[in-house]
């Protein structure tokens, strides 16, 4: 054990400190910190035959749980992907990487980087992802629906710059105006816009992609449904079916 501990101190230019936390468990005090100023939690334990395990004893997931729990299949899948892509394994939340004396420095850097990645899963929180809805919609339209010649920020009534459609497709003569709706205020603006376009006798189809249809208040859902021609209840739904519906508009 002494050999690997000395190696670590030397590899980190004597900026690292190693303290025994429990029998056969050594905590590494490395100059690597979380965003809140706490040090990354990392330990080394002997495994036998000159092999060792670097691990965190579940403290990364404990830290993540302050603001984010891995409590769904999707979150679990992302977590497992990070582990497998970084050649780590997990025992009841304890994230581990086996090492030898020779590879210790690179393995320490590797596992601390991976632990930081796991800590970053808090950015997958609903409110953060929600704010990306418009960007994700834009990316999909510009990458996957280019054959339908999308135009963005369109003014169907030129002198009404307060009534903007997010996108226009022209599959068959009449335009399809598409609105991305991620909250109540956008739902109301979309309803008003479609009603104004109808009042102006425009020949168009009004489509809506909701971030989460079920989250809109009941009355807003009704108004929107009664006004527009086609709604996608989520971005996923739009991604799956947009091409089919645009093809149908061609006929």
């Amino acid at each position: 054990m002494d050999e690997i501990l000395k190696n670590i101190e030397s590899d980190f230019n004597n900026q690292a400190l190693i303290k025994q936390k429990r029998p056969d468990i050594y905590q590494l005090y490395l100059p690597i910190f979380h965003e809140d100023g706490d040090m990354i939690d990392l330990f080394i334990i002997p495994k036998g035959n000159s092999e060792y395990t670097l691990c965190d004893f579940g403290l990364t997931l404990q830290r993540l749980s302050y603001s984010y729990d891995i409590d769904t299949e999707n979150k679990e899948a992302i977590f497992q992907k990070i582990l497998s892509e970084n050649s780590l394994y997990e025992k009841k939340g304890n994230i581990c990487l086996d090492t030898t004396v020779e590879n210790t420095f690179s393995n320490i850097m590797h596992i601390t980087h991976a632990l930081a990645k796991i800590g970053s899963m808090r950015y997958f929180k609903r409110e953060v992802i929600e704010s990306l809805f418009i960007e994700m919609l834009d990316e999909f339209i510009n990458q996957e629906l280019r054959e339908f010649h999308p135009q963005s920020k369109v003014l169907p009534i030129p002198d009404r710059d307060d009534l903007e459609a997010d996108y226009q497709f022209s599959p068959n003569g009449h335009p399809v105006y598409l609105f991305g709706v991620k909250d109540v205020s956008k739902a109301r603006l979309t309803t008003i816009s479609c009603l104004e376009f109808q009042k102006a006798n425009l020949n168009f189809r009004g489509w809506v992609v909701n971030d989460d249809f079920e989250k809109l208040p009941r009355k807003d859902r009704s108004r929107l449904t009664n006004t527009c021609d086609k709604q996608f209840t989520s971005l996923e739904e739009f991604k799956m079916n947009a091409k089919i519906f645009l093809e149908r508009e061609k006929k």
């Binding site: 965003e35 040090m39 953060v128 704010s131």
Partner: protein
């Protein structure tokens, strides 16, 4: 824009429990309890959490999180931590310490609770919980109901 005075008001305003502490089944080697709080005038809402490692008793964190009504997301206001390891300020010492949010960090979009002060207010997980519930100004009846003193301990004051 947040100010340090407002953050202080949020931390110290009198609070009541509005959602009882519940233990969350964890996959990992730690325990977590979460609960809901509100200021007694009902203006502000908060979440509280208590986590403790099952491997190392001294690795715990007890936090207060602000849940603003008019903006998305939450802001961690303070966290009472055990002696889990080094910090940027004391890289080679494990100290009992408290993380606080500061206005500058919040306003510039950084992780809020980056101000760290070492503390002598508690020295065990249980005493940290007792410190926390007084620090965040939880109503005395809720302190007694949800976070009673361990039976071997007497509160002389």
């Amino acid at each position: 824009m947040y100010t340090d005075e407002f953050i202080d008001e949020l931390i110290t305003c009198p609070k009541k429990i509005v959602d009882n502490p519940k233990e969350k089944e964890g996959r990992a080697d730690f325990l977590k309890k979460s609960f809901g709080l509100a200021s007694i005038d009902g203006v502000y809402k908060f979440n509280g959490f208590i986590t403790q490692s099952l491997v190392f008793d001294e690795n715990f964190s007890i936090g207060l999180v602000f849940n603003p009504k008019d903006e998305k997301g939450t802001i961690t206001l303070s966290r009472c931590n055990g002696r889990h390891g080094g910090t940027e300020e004391f890289p080679h010492h494990a100290e009992w310490h408290i993380h606080y949010a500061d206005a500058e960090r919040i306003n510039s979009g950084l992780k809020s609770e980056g101000k760290i002060t070492s503390t002598k207010e508690y020295s065990t997980f249980e005493s940290a919980i007792q410190f926390y519930i007084k620090h965040i100004n939880l109503l005395p009846e809720d302190r007694q109901k949800y976070f009673p003193l361990p039976s071997s301990q007497l509160d002389l004051f």
